[in-house]
């Protein structure tokens, strides 16, 4: 069977529309394309001419799974432009909101989208019949994340309570009591989830990646930090575009990103974990060590375990933030627009999400740039597929295809987010 082409026209269990093409010629692997054919979305274009105030809510519409990340990166970029600093309880509330998004997004991917791959089920439904307790617990755990986002964001999907400078309305201490109790349960459930994911049959596969994530002096990164890598990158967020190059490839509506003069890199749970293990809470570190997943972790198939560890961290961190919460005097700090350029980068569940805006003296957006995590991971996804297919070319077709799809889902790709403005190229001879 060696050397048969693989074509998956519509990838299941990923967010958005993508496909996979693997081509052999004369028994040699010739081509691997992870194609994104979701239509272009033009968000950057229609942000032009809108007020800075609208950026968090407009960009949140890019994704129903990680709207908080868009709101956070947009708010931080605008605050950077206007020289505003959000601190104290407002900053804590932002971290708390992010905890909710990580919990719901990670648990959805772990239990409903990715785990079936490891256990040989076609989908979560089949898995649920044989592992009802696990799926039930996961749904309940995910719901705690949704509840946290609804409580702070005003609603679960596309929250509406975030603004440049803070929030429209902040919770009273007692508003957090109920979710605090749920989180105590969730933290225990997350410990079990880590152990369960670590017990899955994980394919052995490693590559020498460049991992890129935020790094903060004291915290596991959500909102702030420098951009660092395991290969020497150490830059401020506003230097992003000097080091990261985006390019259009003909078969994808998402731009491919690479580090200038070096190449592919990986963002997301594995990158954060490898670069910030020492910033995880003691409990998260302890459980990670117990299941034997510690940095350097270069096996992308282990990302399912790392996602569970981050879920545990998010529960733990949320409880810490709630315990120390006293409502701020004002729900937001004052913002005075000025002509400027601002940069923001925060850690979406799938990795760093970069925003840059140029605004005029009235705060009207002149131009915008958004670089989502899945676009940044595309090159590495293809690199993984290339090596996997080469190493497993003797596997029966179906099994090889299965392994390829599983490898794509290692990155929890959010294709809707990644889809970018399509540059029209006309070639004439």
């Amino acid at each position: 069977m060696r050397g048969k082409n693989i074509k998956v026209d519509y990838l299941a269990r990923v967010e958005g529309e993508g496909s996979l093409v693997v081509k052999f010629r004369g028994g040699q692997l010739r081509e691997v394309q992870f194609q994104i054919f979701e239509p272009p979305r033009f968000f950057e274009a229609f942000l032009r001419g809108r007020s800075y105030r609208e950026a968090p809510d407009i960009t949140a519409r890019i994704c129903g799974i990680c709207p908080v990340a868009y709101q956070m990166s947009a708010a931080h970029a605008m605050e950077d432009a206007f020289g505003v600093k959000v601190e104290g309880p407002l900053r804590d509330l932002r971290r708390l909101l992010y905890c909710g998004e990580w919990i719901e997004s990670h648990v959805l991917h772990i239990a409903l989208l990715h785990a079936p791959d490891f256990l040989g089920y076609q989908d979560a439904l089949q898995m649920a019949r044989e592992h009802p307790d696990l799926v039930q617990t996961a749904l309940q755990l995910k719901k705690v994340g949704n509840d946290l986002v609804a409580l702070l964001g005003g609603r679960e999907i596309h929250p509406i309570n975030v603004k440049v400078g803070g929030f429209y309305r902040v919770p009273r201490r007692r508003d957090l009591n109920e979710v605090e109790e749920q989180l105590k349960w969730a933290r225990e459930a997350a410990v079990q989830l880590v152990k369960w994911t670590a017990s899955l049959p994980i394919p052995l596969f490693e590559r020498d990646y460049e991992f890129v994530a935020l790094r903060h002096p004291a915290e596991y990164p959500f909102n702030e930090g420098r951009l660092v890598s395991n290969k020497g990158l150490d830059i401020a967020v506003d230097e992003f575009e000097a080091h990261i190059v985006e390019e259009h490839v003909p078969y994808s509506n998402a731009l491919h990103a690479r580090i200038a003069k070096r190449g592919a890199y990986v963002v997301g749970p594995l990158a954060r974990f490898n670069l910030n293990f020492d910033r995880l809470s003691p409990l998260a570190q302890e459980v990670a060590k117990e299941v034997g997943v510690v940095p350097p972790c270069r096996n992308p198939f282990q990302s399912i375990v790392v996602r569970a560890i981050e879920t545990l961290y998010a529960c733990d961190e949320a409880l810490r933030l709630i315990a120390q919460y006293t409502p701020p005097d004002q729900p937001a700090v004052e913002v005075h627009p000025c002509a400027a350029t601002g940069h923001g980068c925060t850690e979406a569940p799938r990795g760093i999400l970069y925003h840059r805006y140029r605004v005029d003296e009235y705060g009207i957006i002149l131009d915008a740039r958004i670089v989502p995590p899945t676009a940044q991971n595309q090159k590495s996804i293809e690199g993984d597929l290339w090596e996997l297919v080469q190493a497993n070319a003797d596997l029966p077709q179906e099994e090889l295809q299965w392994r390829c799809e599983q490898a794509i889902r290692n990155y929890d790709p959010c294709i809707s987010c990644a889809t970018h403005f399509l540059r029209l190229q006309v070639e004439r001879e």
Partner: protein, 155 residues
């Protein structure tokens, strides 16, 4: 907060024309909610429903369908007794839609004791607000059916 015994759920995206039919029904009923009924809108992530409807005796769910029926046609089904007919497809932009969520709930034995689904056949699911006339009329009909149904269950 003490839960009521009945939960009414409207599913749909209010910015996808007729997909908002379920949301429209809930918004109409919310103006004068019948006794002992909680109302909620579910604009996307349906997997949370399995947790949300826990502890409710009766759940009534309204969603737009795209099943090949004529626009505005209404189908009522008791989903706690039988799986959805295969031709009853609900419109979803996401991988896990209503059909999948119900199947998942069934596999987990987490369907409510009584789950009634009203499907309203939509016509236009493109971007934008506002319902087709046929669907707007169906929304009024479903509001009436639900009020009748709730009155009946009181007796």
């Amino acid at each position: 907060m003490k839960k009521q015994s009945t939960l009414l759920i409207g599913v749909g995206n209010p910015y996808r024309q007729d997909d908002a039919a379920g949301i429209a029904v809930v918004r109409r009923l919310r103006q004068r909610p019948p006794k002992q009924v909680d109302c909620m809108e579910c604009p996307g992530d349906l997997t949370t429903l399995i947790e949300t409807w826990r502890d409710y005796e009766l759940v009534i769910l309204v969603d737009a369908m795209r099943s090949g029926r004529s626009a505005g046609e209404v189908v009522r089904i008791d989903a706690s007794r039988q799986p959805l007919p295969t031709d009853m497809r609900f419109f979803s932009l996401h991988a896990i839609g209503l059909n999948e969520t119900l199947a998942l709930a069934r596999a987990l034995s987490r369907l409510p004791p009584k789950l009634v689904i009203y499907g309203i056949e939509g016509k236009h699911f493109g971007e934008g607000e506002g319902l087709s006339p046929e669907v707007a009329k169906a929304v009024e009909d479903v509001v009436r059916y639900i009020l009748q149904e709730l009155k009946g269950s009181d007796a």
